[in-house]
């Protein structure tokens, strides 16, 4: 988990400190195209003479913003729906879980692509789409927790004291269910970063911003001449996703020792 934390911190720091460590505007073209790494800029330049190092660093901002944003949205939706399903049970539970299952079966990437293709590009839209596409997992986790907690002592006590359903849900059960939720949210960031990279790779990214997936798409015709346009952004994606995954796994070990093995995979 420490490794994960380290990677994440590295990526986050680079993204936040972008203007300090990357001096060139990532979108600025120049006549010096295809410069290999270390000849002109740390990572070289791409086909339009843009500085690859700057692109990677600023691209990190996009990935982090989308990853964290989508994960937050996914968590929000998942907590609400999963909470209701787990608490209520019965028909409501059945219906909601059928819907969740449905969203889990539909290939997420395709659904996201279709939505973005028709709704339009832009970083805000991508966050919303990714949040919508990924909520079922969180919902299931929350639901499982709520079902378990439904008959626990805290809840009995709260009911005995005359507390309303929302109060119980929000104040009593949720804090106890947070462990798995945090883990899922962290892993959700990794997942969202991968999805966003795929969407950008397919040309549906935000055209005003540089993102890692977009860089990989750009690199496609020039693989033979300039490996650096592909290798660096790809490694960045790997590092971020790996980092958040490890972080999630580590948090899992810490927060849910009982549940180890069931939440993973």
């Amino acid at each position: 988990m420490r490794a994960g934390g380290f990677l994440v911190a590295l990526v986050a720091l680079a993204a936040i400190a972008a203007p300090l460590i990357a001096h060139r505007d990532p979108l600025a073209t120049s006549p010096l195209a295809f410069a290999p790494p270390l000849t002109h800029g740390l990572f070289g330049t791409d086909n339009l003479g843009r500085d690859v190092w700057s692109e990677v660093v600023y691209g990190g901002r996009v990935s982090l913003v989308v990853g964290i944003g989508a994960s937050l949205l996914q968590t929000l939706i998942g907590v609400v729906i999963g909470g209701i399903a787990g608490y209520r049970g019965g028909v409501v539970d059945l219906a909601l879980m059928r819907i969740a299952e449905f969203f889990q079966i539909i290939p997420q990437f395709f659904l996201a692509l279709v939505l973005v293709a028709i709704v339009g590009r832009g970083i805000d839209k991508v966050i919303i789409v990714l949040g919508i596409v990924a909520w079922p997992l969180t919902a299931r986790v929350v639901r499982a927790q709520f079902i378990a907690l439904r008959s626990s002592e805290f809840v009995e006590a709260a009911r005995a004291l005359g507390a309303g359903n929302w109060y119980i849900g929000y104040r009593v059960m949720l804090p106890n269910a947070l462990g798995p939720v945090i883990v899922t949210a962290t892993q959700g960031i990794a997942h969202a970063i991968l999805l966003e990279a795929g969407i950008s790779f397919f040309g549906l990214g935000d055209p005003a911003l540089i993102s890692w997936g977009q860089m990989l798409n750009n690199a496609q015709p020039f693989l033979g001449e300039s490996w650096w346009i592909s290798v660096f952004p790809g490694a960045a994606i790997l590092a971020s996703v790996l980092g958040f995954s490890l972080l999630g796994d580590g948090l899992n070990d810490v927060l849910n020792p009982r549940l180890r093995g069931t939440l993973r995979a």
Binding site: I118, G198, F202, G203, L216, L223, G224, S230, A265
Partner: protein
């Protein structure tokens, strides 16, 4: 069995759901649903008028919905003006290569995962285990399309050992065996790239499951009973591990199809994924929506198959 029928019956609302999503997408958007269904191409005005009439846009949404569903049931996924052919035939031509690729990756990933996961479980906490765990994690986190580019850089650019474009060489092979070998050569790199994620997932699952089972039974009973029982326990553990594998397998199909879209694009593999990329680029919405429907259907049925298989393997798993 009644439960099998029940499972099959559950698929119906899911199919319904897919159509509903497509319907909602095309109708709740700003603009004309006919435009979304026709795409960006200058379609002849009488086709557009016909479509408008067929969709009955002046009638209630429910009527429209049933009309649309009716068309789908007749296999009418619309017409693609970019390819000048019905969407069904455009997609139909591409399904074969995608299934070849995704299918090979699925088989490779599943079997490989079982083997590697077992290996890691047996050597739990030793060097092999750690190595496998790390590799699995990396394999799970690496974007498939980047891995594809890396493979091309290594094996096609740096060392021209393997082809990196398409499914066939340009000339037609004289013999059937030659043709098969040709496709096989082209299949190597894409399958490697595509199967990695699935392999990683399966490895993790099998490893986790086997570790749990092996820890208890193996340690306790093996010492008491002797070697042959070890084998039985082992088989039992493996059987247990299959449960999550099957469950994840159904889910994996969807994941594989998604990733194959990306991998196919990098390798110019003539499948549905490449078609998806091209139709997105050309703003050919009918094909885009058609691919979405087809892959969703495949995923739904894969899940159904996994469910039913699971019921047979482990009767107690009835969520």
């Amino acid at each position: 069995m009644g439960s099998s029928l029940a499972r099959i019956a559950l698929v119906v609302p899911q199919l319904f759901g897919v159509v509903a999503i497509v319907f909602v997408i095309t109708h709740l958007l700003p603009g004309d649903p006919v435009t979304a269904l026709v795409g960006d191409y200058p379609a002849p005005p009488d086709y557009v008028a016909q479509l408008r009439h067929d969709l009955g846009l002046d009638q209630s949404l429910w009527v429209q919905f049933f009309d649309y569903t009716g068309r789908l049931l007749h296999g009418d996924l619309g017409f693609s003006f970019a390819y000048d052919a019905p969407v069904v035939s455009v997609i139909g031509e591409r399904i074969g290569p995608t299934f070849l690729l995704a299918g090979s990756a699925f088989v490779l990933g599943t079997f490989g995962g079982v083997i590697l996961g077992t290996l890691a479980a047996v050597r739990h906490l030793r060097a092999t285990d750690r190595l496998v765990t790390v590799l699995a994690l990396v394999g799970f986190s690496i974007p498939g399309f980047w891995l594809s580019q890396l493979l091309i850089l290594a094996f096609a650019v740096q060392f021209a050992w393997l082809p990196s474009i398409g499914m066939h060489a340009l000339h037609t092979e004289p013999t059937a065996l030659g043709a098969i070998a040709d496709v096989a050569r082209h299949l190597v790199l894409p399958v490697l790239a595509l199967s990695t994620g699935h392999l990683a997932l399966m490895t993790r699952l099998v490893r986790t499951s086997m570790i749990e089972t092996l820890q208890f039974d193996f340690v306790r009973t093996a010492r008491a009973k002797g070697l042959s029982t070890q084998l039985v326990i082992f088989k039992h553990a493996l059987r247990n591990a299959l449960i999550p594998v099957i469950a994840a397998g159904g889910y994996s199909v969807g994941l594989l199809l998604s990733t194959s879209a990306l991998v196919e694009t990098v390798f110019s593999w003539p499948g549905m994924g490449r078609l998806l990329y091209d139709s997105l680029f050309k703003r050919d919405y009918p094909v885009l929506i058609g691919i979405f429907i087809v892959t969703s259907l495949v995923a739904i049925f894969a899940n159904l198959a996994a469910d039913m298989l699971q019921a047979r393997v482990d009767p107690r798993s009835r969520a």
